[in-house]
């Protein structure tokens, strides 16, 4: 019905899929920081295009899955870009020629440029996030964060368990809305629905916590079934990513 988009097995077995999740997370963080620092449209275009090509080529992500995940975020990027162009102060500068003039709305070239640049940046950030999500196994991510990045176990495995429960939350929502409609109440939205969701989520989290404790979770030092080791290919991945980032940033002034 409503499912969390999970990475496919073929993507997880790909070169990017096998790369350490921590290395990927570091690189995505670096690229996003670079995108935040530039106002030029060229770096986000280059990094976004490389991100797309790499997730399809090296990450073996199916085009359809990529498009489905990207569609809502791509729409958001365009909307943000559009409003930034329309509301840009340069539109009020009478010395600039208007590209479009529609009643009170006047669009100048610098405003359109700034809007396009912002749309590119938001779009590139979306691409990087999706490329990471569609090539990374959640369990491996948590293992890697605990073992390589020192994230506390209790938090990491708790978050993993909560993540598994998201589809159930969607089922609860359907059920609570049905219950309202069948009682002759407005089903679309009501604060009581939120209360119901919260109660059901807390009950479930409670059961999960008891089940985890019963298995000895957090009772002592934990051993590791899957050991996340750093490898030279991770270093090479990070290095190549860093070089691309520097090159892209240099191309945008």
């Amino acid at each position: 019905m409503i499912a969390v988009r999970a990475p496919e097995d073929r993507a997880l077995a790909s070169p990017i899929g096998r790369t350490s999740p921590v290395a990927k997370l570091v690189l995505v963080g670096m690229w996003m920081a670079g995108l935040a620092l530039t106002t030029d449209p060229r770096p986000p275009l280059i990094l976004g295009a490389i991100g797309l090509a790499a997730s399809v080529g090296l990450g073996r992500v199916r085009l359809a899955a990529l498009a489905a995940a990207l569609a809502p975020l791509g729409f958001a990027a365009l909307t943000v870009g559009f409003f930034n162009a329309v509301l840009n102060p340069a539109n009020g500068d009478a010395s600039l020629a208007a590209l479009v003039s529609l009643g009170p709305i006047r669009l100048t070239a610098p405003a359109v440029g700034a809007g396009a640049a912002i749309a590119c940046r938001v779009g590139a950030v979306a691409v990087l996030g999706i490329a990471f999500a569609l090539t990374t196994d959640t369990t491996r991510l948590v293992d890697a964060l605990v073992q390589r990045a020192g994230v506390p176990e209790r938090f990491a495995y708790g978050a993993l368990a909560a993540f598994q429960a998201i589809p159930r939350l969607a089922e609860d929502l359907v059920s609570l809305r049905d219950a309202r409609r069948i009682r002759g109440l407005r089903a679309s939205w009501h604060p009581r629905i939120l209360v119901g969701l919260l109660v059901l989520a807390i009950r479930r989290a409670d059961r999960m916590a008891v089940a985890m404790d019963a298995r000895g979770f957090g009772s002592g030092p934990r051993s590791r079934y899957r050991v996340e080791r750093g490898s030279w290919s991770d270093v090479a991945f990070l290095g190549a990513g860093g070089v691309i980032l520097v090159a892209a940033m240099l191309m945008g002034r």
């Binding site: 369990t139 598994q164 002759g184 999960m208």
Partner: protein, 432 residues
Amino acid sequence: MPGAVAGRLDGELVVGGQRAGHDPQALVARQVGIVFQDPESQLVMERVDDEVAFGLESLGWPAPEMRARVPEALAGLGLAGFARRRTARLSGGEQQRLAIAGVLAPGPGVLVLDEPTANLDPDGTRELAARLAAMRADRSSTIVLVEHRADLVWPLADLVLALGADGRPIALGPPEVLLERHATQLAAAGVWLPDVPGREPSALGPTAPVSGPAGGRPFVEARGIGFAWDRARPILRGIDLELAMGDRVALLGPNGAGKSTLGRIVGGLLRPTAGTMRLAGGDPVRLPARELARLVGYVFQDPERQFVAATVRAEMEAGLDARGRAGVAEVAATLGLPLDAFGERSPYSLSGGEQRRLSLAPVLARRPGLLVLDEPTYGQDRHGYDLLVAFFRARVASGSAILVATHDLRLVADLGARPFVLTPTASGAIAA
């Protein structure tokens, strides 16, 4: 595991030399494994083998031993070859067996199963019972099984401890002895007993069909109903179904066969993707909520999924007109939830039995022509069950039709319902 649950423990509980509630939880966790009702809220990891390893990791097993133990534990519950499957995509029965494999992997001396068949279909229940029988024969661990339904557990038990509503033991002994000496006492306390030939099967008497008014145009008419979220994988296909006033139809079939989906379509909560649905001559999905509420009443398995208000009184009054609200006190009294005692309490603070009764309030206040029930009897003791059956029979006698999705064949018989079996196939559910 008294430390994890609020409350007070009197007396002393010693398991394998460890005092529960006093000794460190890890020492107790090594001795006792617990499996709960709902498989989905006890599975932590994404993949089957990681799930089994989770408990071993928590107890600090060395990696090579884990690698040897995980496949063994999976094979022990008939899950060999499942190692890399995603836990969320297993059937309910497979999930419950996985939960048991995970709990058994560290080799606890005691395995506690808390209503393990709660969310399982008959096939899942049979699979699980067969595994439990094998584990019993193998005598490697003590099994403590908490169950309402005696038909499953009675033949598996060496010893039965029956508890009364006040938490005091009614009787403890081998099953034959309990049946022989304490049957009346147990039945009076609402304990389910296995059906033994010659014994009265139900306090309500014989399970003859309830007769309802016949003839006339069917109240519910489904023609060629199909449903699919995704065109390639239909959930329902070509369903024809008719219910006249007073008719009872039981939707049967494994989990995932589309029973709840069909219930939602018939109840006007979901638009079918194929076919036509008629309720009292009209299309139920197009009806305004107020109209629909007059025609259909719903009872879900989990009452907490259907509460819409902050207090018991508001819950009973929700969506009613002035005349309906005036009758609420009587409805509350009938359900044993008098307003002066319960009116201002939160529905979420009620006991399970009280919640179940509260969930019947809308049906009692509105007397809709169709009742859609989704696993209404699960987890009920004998008293709760008898109350539900009497309630539904009274509705049928006054002309309501009932569509019930259930695994509970006893309920089907007690309502005299016509079985309607849904089978999931590669091409979707087909009525058989």
